[in-house]
Symmetry: C2
Subunit: 287 residues, 2 copies
Amino acid sequence: MNFFGIMDEMFKDFEEYQDIQKGKGIRGKLITIIDPNAQKLAAVVESIHLASLLHDDVIDEADTRRGVKSINAKYGDFTAVMLGDILYSRAFYELIEFGSEIAKTVSNAVYLLSQGELEDVKLSNSINLDKDKYMQMIYKKTASLIEASCSAAAISAGLDRDKFALYGKNIGIAFQIIDDLLDITQDEKTLGKPNMHDFYEGKTTLPYIYLFEVLNEEDKEKLMKLYRKKLDKSEKEWIRNKMDEFGIIQKCYNEAKELVKSAKNAIKEFNIPALEIIADKVVDREF
Amino acid sequence: MNFFGIMDEMFKDFEEYQDIQKGKGIRGKLITIIDPNAQKLAAVVESIHLASLLHDDVIDEADTRRGVKSINAKYGDFTAVMLGDILYSRAFYELIEFGSEIAKTVSNAVYLLSQGELEDVKLSNSINLDKDKYMQMIYKKTASLIEASCSAAAISAGLDRDKFALYGKNIGIAFQIIDDLLDITQDEKTLGKPNMHDFYEGKTTLPYIYLFEVLNEEDKEKLMKLYRKKLDKSEKEWIRNKMDEFGIIQKCYNEAKELVKSAKNAIKEFNIPALEIIADKVVDREF
Protein backbone atom coordinates (compact mmCIF):
# COMPACT_ATOMS: atom_id res chain seq x y z
CA MET A 1 0.00 0.00 0.00
CA ASN A 2 1.35 3.36 -0.98
CA PHE A 3 0.28 5.52 1.89
CA PHE A 4 1.79 8.67 0.45
CA GLY A 5 0.18 7.93 -2.90
CA ILE A 6 -3.30 8.12 -1.46
CA MET A 7 -2.59 11.42 0.21
CA ASP A 8 -0.85 12.84 -2.85
CA GLU A 9 -3.97 12.23 -4.84
CA MET A 10 -6.29 13.74 -2.28
CA PHE A 11 -4.30 16.82 -1.52
CA LYS A 12 -2.51 17.41 -4.78
CA ASP A 13 -3.61 21.05 -4.88
CA PHE A 14 -2.75 21.78 -1.30
CA GLU A 15 0.81 22.78 -0.72
CA GLU A 16 0.28 23.37 2.96
CA TYR A 17 -1.04 19.85 3.47
CA GLN A 18 1.80 18.39 1.43
CA ASP A 19 4.27 20.11 3.75
CA ILE A 20 2.72 18.33 6.65
CA GLN A 21 2.63 15.04 4.79
CA LYS A 22 6.28 15.22 3.88
CA GLY A 23 7.16 15.17 7.55
CA LYS A 24 7.87 18.86 7.78
CA GLY A 25 5.44 18.94 10.67
CA ILE A 26 6.74 19.06 14.22
CA ARG A 27 5.32 15.63 15.16
CA GLY A 28 7.00 13.82 12.29
CA LYS A 29 10.25 15.62 12.97
CA LEU A 30 10.26 14.66 16.64
CA ILE A 31 9.55 11.04 15.78
CA THR A 32 12.39 10.73 13.27
CA ILE A 33 14.82 12.49 15.61
CA ILE A 34 14.00 10.03 18.41
CA ASP A 35 13.97 7.03 16.06
CA PRO A 36 15.56 7.68 12.64
CA ASN A 37 14.05 4.42 11.38
CA ALA A 38 10.49 5.44 12.19
CA GLN A 39 9.75 7.26 8.93
CA LYS A 40 6.49 5.46 8.40
CA LEU A 41 5.31 6.09 11.95
CA ALA A 42 6.07 9.77 11.34
CA ALA A 43 3.91 9.75 8.21
CA VAL A 44 1.07 8.01 10.03
CA VAL A 45 1.11 10.51 12.89
CA GLU A 46 1.29 13.46 10.49
CA SER A 47 -1.74 12.03 8.68
CA ILE A 48 -3.58 11.92 11.97
CA HIS A 49 -2.61 15.50 12.62
CA LEU A 50 -3.77 16.44 9.12
CA ALA A 51 -7.11 14.70 9.74
CA SER A 52 -7.52 16.68 12.96
CA LEU A 53 -6.81 19.92 11.07
CA LEU A 54 -9.46 19.09 8.49
CA HIS A 55 -12.06 18.56 11.21
CA ASP A 56 -10.78 21.55 13.18
CA ASP A 57 -11.27 23.83 10.16
CA VAL A 58 -14.84 22.61 9.77
CA ILE A 59 -15.50 23.31 13.45
CA ASP A 60 -13.89 26.75 13.37
CA GLU A 61 -15.49 27.51 9.99
CA ALA A 62 -11.99 28.50 8.88
CA ASP A 63 -11.71 29.75 5.29
CA THR A 64 -7.97 29.51 5.09
CA ARG A 65 -5.18 27.33 6.39
CA ARG A 66 -1.68 28.78 6.20
CA GLY A 67 -2.90 31.41 3.75
CA VAL A 68 -4.40 28.91 1.29
CA LYS A 69 -8.11 28.13 0.98
CA SER A 70 -9.07 25.40 3.42
CA ILE A 71 -10.54 22.09 2.20
CA ASN A 72 -13.91 22.91 3.77
CA ALA A 73 -13.97 26.33 2.10
CA LYS A 74 -12.98 24.83 -1.26
CA TYR A 75 -15.00 21.60 -1.32
CA GLY A 76 -17.53 21.99 1.48
CA ASP A 77 -17.77 20.68 5.01
CA PHE A 78 -18.76 17.16 3.99
CA THR A 79 -15.58 16.66 1.97
CA ALA A 80 -13.44 17.90 4.84
CA VAL A 81 -15.20 15.68 7.37
CA MET A 82 -14.95 12.61 5.14
CA LEU A 83 -11.33 13.18 4.07
CA GLY A 84 -10.54 13.48 7.76
CA ASP A 85 -12.28 10.18 8.44
CA ILE A 86 -10.50 8.52 5.53
CA LEU A 87 -7.14 9.70 6.85
CA TYR A 88 -7.93 8.71 10.43
CA SER A 89 -9.14 5.25 9.53
CA ARG A 90 -6.23 4.57 7.16
CA ALA A 91 -3.80 5.80 9.80
CA PHE A 92 -5.38 3.54 12.45
CA TYR A 93 -5.14 0.64 10.05
CA GLU A 94 -1.44 1.31 9.50
CA LEU A 95 -0.82 1.86 13.22
CA ILE A 96 -1.75 -1.74 14.02
CA GLU A 97 1.48 -2.86 12.33
CA PHE A 98 3.52 -1.04 14.97
CA GLY A 99 2.24 -3.26 17.76
CA SER A 100 -0.35 -2.68 20.41
CA GLU A 101 1.73 -0.42 22.69
CA ILE A 102 2.35 2.17 19.96
CA ALA A 103 -1.13 1.79 18.47
CA LYS A 104 -2.75 2.36 21.87
CA THR A 105 -0.54 5.33 22.66
CA VAL A 106 -1.41 7.11 19.43
CA SER A 107 -5.11 6.22 19.31
CA ASN A 108 -5.50 7.35 22.92
CA ALA A 109 -3.99 10.70 21.93
CA VAL A 110 -6.57 11.07 19.16
CA TYR A 111 -9.25 10.35 21.75
CA LEU A 112 -7.80 13.10 23.96
CA LEU A 113 -7.34 15.62 21.17
CA SER A 114 -10.94 15.20 19.97
CA GLN A 115 -12.09 15.82 23.53
CA GLY A 116 -9.78 18.83 23.70
CA GLU A 117 -11.29 20.35 20.55
CA LEU A 118 -14.75 19.93 22.01
CA GLU A 119 -13.70 21.41 25.37
CA ASP A 120 -12.12 24.34 23.53
CA VAL A 121 -15.45 25.16 21.90
CA LYS A 122 -17.38 24.59 25.14
CA LEU A 123 -15.02 26.83 27.14
CA SER A 124 -15.45 29.63 24.62
CA ASN A 125 -19.25 29.72 25.02
CA SER A 126 -18.86 31.92 28.08
CA ILE A 127 -15.93 33.51 29.92
CA ASN A 128 -13.76 30.82 31.46
CA LEU A 129 -11.55 32.02 34.31
CA ASP A 130 -10.55 28.58 35.54
CA LYS A 131 -6.87 28.07 34.81
CA ASP A 132 -7.02 24.31 35.50
CA LYS A 133 -9.76 23.82 32.93
CA TYR A 134 -7.77 25.84 30.43
CA MET A 135 -4.55 23.89 31.02
CA GLN A 136 -6.38 20.56 30.77
CA MET A 137 -7.92 21.66 27.49
CA ILE A 138 -4.65 22.76 25.86
CA TYR A 139 -2.96 19.61 27.09
CA LYS A 140 -5.59 17.54 25.31
CA LYS A 141 -5.99 19.71 22.22
CA THR A 142 -2.36 20.48 21.48
CA ALA A 143 0.03 18.54 23.67
CA SER A 144 -1.45 15.06 23.69
CA LEU A 145 -0.48 14.13 20.13
CA ILE A 146 3.00 15.63 20.54
CA GLU A 147 3.37 13.66 23.77
CA ALA A 148 2.18 10.50 22.00
CA SER A 149 4.56 11.11 19.07
CA CYS A 150 7.56 11.25 21.39
CA SER A 151 6.31 8.35 23.45
CA ALA A 152 5.64 6.15 20.41
CA ALA A 153 9.02 6.98 18.88
CA ALA A 154 10.73 6.10 22.16
CA ILE A 155 8.92 2.75 22.25
CA SER A 156 9.99 2.19 18.65
CA ALA A 157 13.61 3.03 19.50
CA GLY A 158 13.61 1.03 22.72
CA LEU A 159 14.10 4.11 24.90
CA ASP A 160 12.35 5.17 28.13
CA ARG A 161 8.91 6.14 26.89
CA ASP A 162 7.89 8.05 30.04
CA LYS A 163 10.77 10.48 29.79
CA PHE A 164 10.14 11.24 26.13
CA ALA A 165 6.41 11.52 26.81
CA LEU A 166 7.12 14.15 29.47
CA TYR A 167 9.34 16.04 27.03
CA GLY A 168 6.57 16.02 24.41
CA LYS A 169 3.83 16.97 26.84
CA ASN A 170 5.76 19.95 28.18
CA ILE A 171 6.81 21.39 24.83
CA GLY A 172 3.25 20.86 23.58
CA ILE A 173 1.73 22.90 26.40
CA ALA A 174 4.47 25.54 26.07
CA PHE A 175 3.77 25.75 22.33
CA GLN A 176 0.10 26.51 22.93
CA ILE A 177 0.83 29.10 25.61
CA ILE A 178 3.17 30.91 23.21
CA ASP A 179 0.61 30.63 20.41
CA ASP A 180 -1.95 32.29 22.67
CA LEU A 181 0.53 35.06 23.50
CA LEU A 182 1.29 35.70 19.84
CA ASP A 183 -2.42 36.30 19.25
CA ILE A 184 -2.01 39.30 21.55
CA THR A 185 1.49 40.55 20.82
CA GLN A 186 1.77 40.12 17.05
CA ASP A 187 0.16 42.35 14.46
CA GLU A 188 -2.43 41.33 11.91
CA LYS A 189 0.09 41.06 9.08
CA THR A 190 2.33 38.58 10.88
CA LEU A 191 -0.59 36.54 12.22
CA GLY A 192 -2.46 36.40 8.90
CA LYS A 193 -5.66 37.21 10.85
CA PRO A 194 -6.77 40.07 13.14
CA ASN A 195 -4.91 40.06 16.43
CA MET A 196 -6.64 39.58 19.80
CA HIS A 197 -8.90 37.28 17.81
CA ASP A 198 -9.07 34.62 20.55
CA PHE A 199 -10.90 36.97 22.93
CA TYR A 200 -13.30 37.93 20.14
CA GLU A 201 -13.97 34.22 19.58
CA GLY A 202 -14.75 33.78 23.25
CA LYS A 203 -11.44 32.18 24.19
CA THR A 204 -10.03 33.40 27.48
CA THR A 205 -6.49 32.15 27.04
CA LEU A 206 -3.95 32.15 29.86
CA PRO A 207 -3.06 35.90 29.69
CA TYR A 208 -6.75 36.83 29.94
CA ILE A 209 -7.27 34.46 32.87
CA TYR A 210 -4.31 36.09 34.65
CA LEU A 211 -5.49 39.59 33.77
CA PHE A 212 -8.94 38.97 35.27
CA GLU A 213 -7.21 37.82 38.47
CA VAL A 214 -5.40 41.12 39.04
CA LEU A 215 -7.73 43.82 37.70
CA ASN A 216 -9.78 45.99 40.04
CA GLU A 217 -13.56 45.68 39.90
CA GLU A 218 -14.02 48.61 37.53
CA ASP A 219 -11.44 47.39 35.01
CA LYS A 220 -12.67 43.83 35.33
CA GLU A 221 -16.13 45.02 34.34
CA LYS A 222 -14.68 46.97 31.43
CA LEU A 223 -12.79 43.89 30.20
CA MET A 224 -15.93 41.80 30.61
CA LYS A 225 -17.74 44.18 28.28
CA LEU A 226 -15.08 43.74 25.59
CA TYR A 227 -15.50 39.95 25.61
CA ARG A 228 -16.63 38.63 22.19
CA LYS A 229 -16.71 42.22 20.89
CA LYS A 230 -15.03 43.43 17.68
CA LEU A 231 -12.32 45.53 19.32
CA ASP A 232 -11.21 48.90 17.98
CA LYS A 233 -7.63 50.14 18.17
CA SER A 234 -7.99 51.97 21.48
CA GLU A 235 -9.68 48.99 23.15
CA LYS A 236 -6.90 46.70 21.98
CA GLU A 237 -4.35 49.16 23.32
CA TRP A 238 -6.13 49.33 26.64
CA ILE A 239 -5.99 45.54 27.04
CA ARG A 240 -2.37 45.42 25.97
CA ASN A 241 -1.44 48.24 28.39
CA LYS A 242 -3.18 46.51 31.28
CA MET A 243 -1.33 43.31 30.49
CA ASP A 244 1.96 45.20 30.42
CA GLU A 245 1.12 47.03 33.64
CA PHE A 246 0.81 43.72 35.48
CA GLY A 247 3.63 41.96 33.59
CA ILE A 248 1.27 39.30 32.29
CA ILE A 249 2.88 38.61 28.93
CA GLN A 250 6.17 38.07 30.75
CA LYS A 251 4.48 35.85 33.34
CA CYS A 252 3.03 33.58 30.66
CA TYR A 253 6.27 33.60 28.73
CA ASN A 254 8.17 32.55 31.87
CA GLU A 255 5.70 29.75 32.44
CA ALA A 256 6.31 28.47 28.92
CA LYS A 257 10.07 28.76 29.47
CA GLU A 258 9.81 26.71 32.65
CA LEU A 259 7.92 24.00 30.77
CA VAL A 260 10.63 23.94 28.11
CA LYS A 261 13.25 23.65 30.81
CA SER A 262 11.45 20.68 32.35
CA ALA A 263 11.10 19.15 28.89
CA LYS A 264 14.83 19.38 28.26
CA ASN A 265 15.61 18.03 31.72
CA ALA A 266 13.41 15.00 31.18
CA ILE A 267 15.57 13.77 28.29
CA LYS A 268 18.90 15.33 29.24
CA GLU A 269 20.57 11.96 29.82
CA PHE A 270 20.00 10.92 26.20
CA ASN A 271 21.96 13.89 24.88
CA ILE A 272 19.98 14.58 21.71
CA PRO A 273 20.84 18.19 20.74
CA ALA A 274 18.11 18.36 18.04
CA LEU A 275 15.42 17.88 20.70
CA GLU A 276 16.88 20.68 22.82
CA ILE A 277 16.92 23.00 19.80
CA ILE A 278 13.28 22.22 19.01
CA ALA A 279 12.30 22.83 22.64
CA ASP A 280 14.04 26.23 22.62
CA LYS A 281 12.43 27.18 19.31
CA VAL A 282 8.98 26.64 20.80
CA VAL A 283 9.39 29.67 23.04
CA ASP A 284 11.78 31.70 20.91
CA ARG A 285 9.29 32.68 18.26
CA GLU A 286 8.94 36.29 17.11
CA PHE A 287 7.11 38.51 19.61
CA MET B 1 -12.60 1.50 31.36
CA ASN B 2 -16.34 1.69 31.25
CA PHE B 3 -16.97 2.07 27.56
CA PHE B 4 -20.73 2.19 27.94
CA GLY B 5 -20.40 4.74 30.73
CA ILE B 6 -18.73 7.24 28.42
CA MET B 7 -21.41 6.82 25.80
CA ASP B 8 -24.23 6.95 28.35
CA GLU B 9 -22.99 10.33 29.48
CA MET B 10 -22.66 11.71 25.96
CA PHE B 11 -25.92 10.48 24.59
CA LYS B 12 -28.08 10.41 27.68
CA ASP B 13 -30.82 12.41 25.95
CA PHE B 14 -30.79 10.35 22.78
CA GLU B 15 -32.94 7.29 22.89
CA GLU B 16 -32.19 6.38 19.32
CA TYR B 17 -28.46 6.36 19.93
CA GLN B 18 -28.91 4.33 23.11
CA ASP B 19 -30.74 1.72 21.09
CA ILE B 20 -27.75 1.38 18.86
CA GLN B 21 -25.37 1.36 21.78
CA LYS B 22 -27.24 -1.41 23.56
CA GLY B 23 -26.53 -3.69 20.65
CA LYS B 24 -29.97 -3.40 19.09
CA GLY B 25 -28.22 -2.45 15.88
CA ILE B 26 -27.86 -5.01 13.11
CA ARG B 27 -24.04 -5.09 13.30
CA GLY B 28 -23.96 -5.85 17.00
CA LYS B 29 -26.64 -8.48 16.59
CA LEU B 30 -24.77 -10.25 13.81
CA ILE B 31 -21.57 -10.25 15.85
CA THR B 32 -23.16 -11.77 18.94
CA ILE B 33 -24.99 -14.36 16.88
CA ILE B 34 -21.75 -15.48 15.26
CA ASP B 35 -19.79 -15.30 18.51
CA PRO B 36 -21.98 -15.10 21.64
CA ASN B 37 -18.89 -14.15 23.66
CA ALA B 38 -18.09 -11.12 21.52
CA GLN B 39 -20.32 -8.63 23.40
CA LYS B 40 -17.57 -6.07 23.68
CA LEU B 41 -16.63 -6.34 20.01
CA ALA B 42 -20.32 -5.74 19.23
CA ALA B 43 -20.31 -2.59 21.35
CA VAL B 44 -17.14 -1.33 19.68
CA VAL B 45 -18.52 -1.87 16.18
CA GLU B 46 -21.84 -0.25 17.10
CA SER B 47 -19.89 2.76 18.39
CA ILE B 48 -18.10 2.98 15.07
CA HIS B 49 -21.44 2.83 13.29
CA LEU B 50 -22.77 5.53 15.62
CA ALA B 51 -19.73 7.71 14.86
CA SER B 52 -20.38 7.29 11.14
CA LEU B 53 -24.03 8.32 11.64
CA LEU B 54 -22.96 11.46 13.47
CA HIS B 55 -20.69 12.45 10.59
CA ASP B 56 -23.26 11.36 8.03
CA ASP B 57 -25.90 13.62 9.56
CA VAL B 58 -23.50 16.56 9.38
CA ILE B 59 -22.81 15.81 5.73
CA ASP B 60 -26.48 15.38 4.85
CA GLU B 61 -27.47 18.37 7.02
CA ALA B 62 -30.04 16.05 8.56
CA ASP B 63 -32.23 17.62 11.24
CA THR B 64 -33.61 14.38 12.58
CA ARG B 65 -32.48 10.82 13.13
CA ARG B 66 -35.21 8.24 13.71
CA GLY B 67 -37.69 11.02 14.40
CA VAL B 68 -35.59 12.67 17.13
CA LYS B 69 -33.50 15.82 16.68
CA SER B 70 -30.05 14.91 15.40
CA ILE B 71 -26.93 15.78 17.40
CA ASN B 72 -25.82 18.31 14.75
CA ALA B 73 -29.24 19.98 14.78
CA LYS B 74 -29.29 20.08 18.57
CA TYR B 75 -25.67 20.98 19.38
CA GLY B 76 -24.19 22.15 16.10
CA ASP B 77 -21.95 20.55 13.51
CA PHE B 78 -18.77 20.87 15.54
CA THR B 79 -20.21 18.80 18.39
CA ALA B 80 -21.35 16.09 16.01
CA VAL B 81 -17.98 15.99 14.23
CA MET B 82 -16.04 15.85 17.48
CA LEU B 83 -18.31 13.31 19.21
CA GLY B 84 -17.84 11.18 16.10
CA ASP B 85 -14.06 11.53 16.38
CA ILE B 86 -14.17 10.73 20.10
CA LEU B 87 -16.18 7.58 19.43
CA TYR B 88 -14.00 6.53 16.50
CA SER B 89 -10.74 7.00 18.37
CA ARG B 90 -12.00 5.27 21.52
CA ALA B 91 -13.31 2.40 19.42
CA PHE B 92 -9.96 2.06 17.61
CA TYR B 93 -8.20 2.06 20.98
CA GLU B 94 -10.44 -0.73 22.20
CA LEU B 95 -10.11 -2.65 18.93
CA ILE B 96 -6.39 -3.15 19.45
CA GLU B 97 -7.19 -5.58 22.30
CA PHE B 98 -8.86 -7.92 19.83
CA GLY B 99 -5.62 -8.58 17.97
CA SER B 100 -4.32 -7.27 14.70
CA GLU B 101 -6.49 -9.39 12.38
CA ILE B 102 -9.76 -8.11 13.85
CA ALA B 103 -8.44 -4.58 14.31
CA LYS B 104 -7.34 -4.42 10.68
CA THR B 105 -10.59 -5.87 9.40
CA VAL B 106 -12.70 -3.30 11.21
CA SER B 107 -10.46 -0.26 10.63
CA ASN B 108 -10.27 -1.11 6.93
CA ALA B 109 -14.08 -1.11 6.83
CA VAL B 110 -14.14 2.37 8.35
CA TYR B 111 -11.70 3.44 5.64
CA LEU B 112 -14.04 2.03 3.00
CA LEU B 113 -17.21 3.45 4.51
CA SER B 114 -15.74 6.95 4.71
CA GLN B 115 -14.81 6.66 1.05
CA GLY B 116 -18.32 5.40 0.32
CA GLU B 117 -19.91 8.42 2.00
CA LEU B 118 -17.74 10.72 -0.08
CA GLU B 119 -18.51 8.83 -3.29
CA ASP B 120 -22.23 8.99 -2.48
CA VAL B 121 -22.04 12.79 -2.33
CA LYS B 122 -19.88 12.97 -5.45
CA LEU B 123 -22.19 10.70 -7.45
CA SER B 124 -25.17 12.88 -6.56
CA ASN B 125 -23.61 16.03 -8.00
CA SER B 126 -24.81 15.03 -11.45
CA ILE B 127 -26.85 12.15 -12.87
CA ASN B 128 -24.97 8.89 -12.47
CA LEU B 129 -26.08 6.13 -14.84
CA ASP B 130 -23.14 3.82 -14.19
CA LYS B 131 -24.37 0.78 -12.30
CA ASP B 132 -20.86 -0.37 -11.38
CA LYS B 133 -20.05 2.93 -9.73
CA TYR B 134 -23.32 2.77 -7.84
CA MET B 135 -22.75 -0.80 -6.65
CA GLN B 136 -19.19 0.01 -5.58
CA MET B 137 -20.45 2.98 -3.63
CA ILE B 138 -23.19 1.11 -1.74
CA TYR B 139 -20.78 -1.72 -1.03
CA LYS B 140 -18.43 0.74 0.62
CA LYS B 141 -21.01 2.95 2.28
CA THR B 142 -23.37 0.31 3.64
CA ALA B 143 -22.04 -3.21 3.21
CA SER B 144 -18.37 -2.85 4.23
CA LEU B 145 -18.98 -2.48 7.96
CA ILE B 146 -21.58 -5.27 7.98
CA GLU B 147 -19.11 -7.46 6.09
CA ALA B 148 -16.36 -6.56 8.59
CA SER B 149 -18.69 -7.25 11.54
CA CYS B 150 -19.36 -10.77 10.32
CA SER B 151 -15.74 -11.32 9.38
CA ALA B 152 -14.44 -10.08 12.75
CA ALA B 153 -16.96 -12.16 14.68
CA ALA B 154 -15.95 -15.24 12.68
CA ILE B 155 -12.28 -14.62 13.49
CA SER B 156 -13.24 -14.22 17.14
CA ALA B 157 -15.20 -17.48 17.07
CA GLY B 158 -12.54 -19.37 15.13
CA LEU B 159 -14.82 -19.85 12.09
CA ASP B 160 -14.12 -19.37 8.37
CA ARG B 161 -13.91 -15.60 8.06
CA ASP B 162 -14.28 -15.50 4.27
CA LYS B 163 -17.63 -17.26 4.30
CA PHE B 164 -19.07 -14.98 6.95
CA ALA B 165 -17.60 -11.94 5.21
CA LEU B 166 -19.43 -12.95 2.03
CA TYR B 167 -22.66 -13.36 3.98
CA GLY B 168 -22.26 -9.86 5.48
CA LYS B 169 -21.30 -8.24 2.19
CA ASN B 170 -24.30 -9.67 0.36
CA ILE B 171 -26.92 -8.81 2.96
CA GLY B 172 -25.37 -5.34 3.27
CA ILE B 173 -25.73 -4.63 -0.45
CA ALA B 174 -29.23 -6.16 -0.50
CA PHE B 175 -30.19 -3.97 2.45
CA GLN B 176 -29.20 -0.81 0.60
CA ILE B 177 -30.99 -1.85 -2.60
CA ILE B 178 -34.19 -2.41 -0.60
CA ASP B 179 -33.70 0.90 1.21
CA ASP B 180 -33.47 2.63 -2.15
CA LEU B 181 -36.64 0.89 -3.32
CA LEU B 182 -38.57 1.90 -0.20
CA ASP B 183 -37.75 5.53 -0.98
CA ILE B 184 -39.87 5.05 -4.10
CA THR B 185 -42.57 2.62 -2.99
CA GLN B 186 -43.40 3.83 0.53
CA ASP B 187 -45.45 6.90 1.40
CA GLU B 188 -44.23 9.93 3.29
CA LYS B 189 -45.83 8.84 6.56
CA THR B 190 -44.06 5.48 6.66
CA LEU B 191 -40.73 6.92 5.52
CA GLY B 192 -40.81 9.87 7.91
CA LYS B 193 -39.67 12.05 5.00
CA PRO B 194 -41.03 12.86 1.51
CA ASN B 195 -40.82 9.88 -0.81
CA MET B 196 -38.74 9.87 -4.00
CA HIS B 197 -36.40 12.04 -1.97
CA ASP B 198 -33.26 10.35 -3.30
CA PHE B 199 -33.86 11.58 -6.84
CA TYR B 200 -34.53 15.08 -5.51
CA GLU B 201 -31.19 14.90 -3.66
CA GLY B 202 -29.43 13.95 -6.87
CA LYS B 203 -29.14 10.25 -6.09
CA THR B 204 -29.82 8.00 -9.05
CA THR B 205 -30.28 4.77 -7.17
CA LEU B 206 -30.52 1.39 -8.89
CA PRO B 207 -34.19 1.68 -10.04
CA TYR B 208 -33.44 5.05 -11.69
CA ILE B 209 -30.33 3.66 -13.40
CA TYR B 210 -32.43 0.79 -14.78
CA LEU B 211 -35.25 3.12 -15.80
CA PHE B 212 -32.90 5.33 -17.81
CA GLU B 213 -31.68 2.20 -19.60
CA VAL B 214 -35.12 1.29 -20.95
CA LEU B 215 -36.91 4.60 -21.56
CA ASN B 216 -37.33 5.99 -25.07
CA GLU B 217 -35.57 9.27 -25.88
CA GLU B 218 -38.59 11.42 -25.17
CA ASP B 219 -39.30 9.89 -21.76
CA LYS B 220 -35.59 9.88 -20.91
CA GLU B 221 -35.53 13.61 -21.52
CA LYS B 222 -38.63 14.06 -19.40
CA LEU B 223 -37.07 12.10 -16.52
CA MET B 224 -33.86 14.09 -16.89
CA LYS B 225 -35.86 17.28 -16.37
CA LEU B 226 -37.32 15.95 -13.13
CA TYR B 227 -33.86 15.28 -11.69
CA ARG B 228 -33.23 17.31 -8.51
CA LYS B 229 -36.69 18.89 -8.88
CA LYS B 230 -39.33 19.07 -6.14
CA LEU B 231 -41.78 16.61 -7.67
CA ASP B 232 -45.54 17.09 -7.59
CA LYS B 233 -48.00 14.23 -7.26
CA SER B 234 -48.49 13.66 -10.98
CA GLU B 235 -44.75 13.66 -11.66
CA LYS B 236 -44.21 11.11 -8.92
CA GLU B 237 -46.99 8.99 -10.37
CA TRP B 238 -45.48 9.22 -13.83
CA ILE B 239 -42.14 7.93 -12.56
CA ARG B 240 -43.79 5.18 -10.57
CA ASN B 241 -45.93 4.12 -13.54
CA LYS B 242 -42.92 4.01 -15.85
CA MET B 243 -41.10 1.84 -13.31
CA ASP B 244 -44.08 -0.48 -13.09
CA GLU B 245 -44.42 -0.58 -16.89
CA PHE B 246 -40.89 -1.96 -17.19
CA GLY B 247 -41.04 -4.11 -14.03
CA ILE B 248 -38.15 -2.24 -12.48
CA ILE B 249 -39.14 -2.44 -8.82
CA GLN B 250 -39.50 -6.20 -9.26
CA LYS B 251 -36.14 -6.40 -11.05
CA CYS B 252 -34.34 -4.62 -8.20
CA TYR B 253 -36.21 -6.66 -5.62
CA ASN B 254 -35.19 -9.87 -7.35
CA GLU B 255 -31.59 -8.73 -7.40
CA ALA B 256 -31.71 -8.14 -3.65
CA LYS B 257 -33.34 -11.55 -3.19
CA GLU B 258 -30.55 -13.20 -5.17
CA LEU B 259 -27.97 -11.51 -2.95
CA VAL B 260 -29.76 -12.78 0.15
CA LYS B 261 -29.80 -16.27 -1.33
CA SER B 262 -26.04 -16.14 -1.94
CA ALA B 263 -25.57 -14.81 1.58
CA LYS B 264 -27.44 -17.73 3.08
CA ASN B 265 -25.63 -20.21 0.86
CA ALA B 266 -22.23 -18.90 1.97
CA ILE B 267 -22.86 -19.91 5.58
CA LYS B 268 -25.29 -22.78 5.07
CA GLU B 269 -22.88 -25.39 6.42
CA PHE B 270 -22.76 -23.68 9.84
CA ASN B 271 -26.51 -24.04 10.29
CA ILE B 272 -27.21 -20.80 12.20
CA PRO B 273 -30.97 -20.17 11.80
CA ALA B 274 -30.77 -16.64 13.30
CA LEU B 275 -28.53 -15.54 10.43
CA GLU B 276 -30.95 -16.93 7.85
CA ILE B 277 -33.84 -15.10 9.52
CA ILE B 278 -31.90 -11.80 9.49
CA ALA B 279 -31.03 -12.29 5.83
CA ASP B 280 -34.69 -12.87 4.94
CA LYS B 281 -35.79 -9.84 6.95
CA VAL B 282 -33.51 -7.61 4.90
CA VAL B 283 -35.69 -8.08 1.82
CA ASP B 284 -39.02 -8.72 3.50
CA ARG B 285 -39.64 -5.22 4.67
CA GLU B 286 -42.96 -3.44 4.10
CA PHE B 287 -43.47 -2.29 0.53
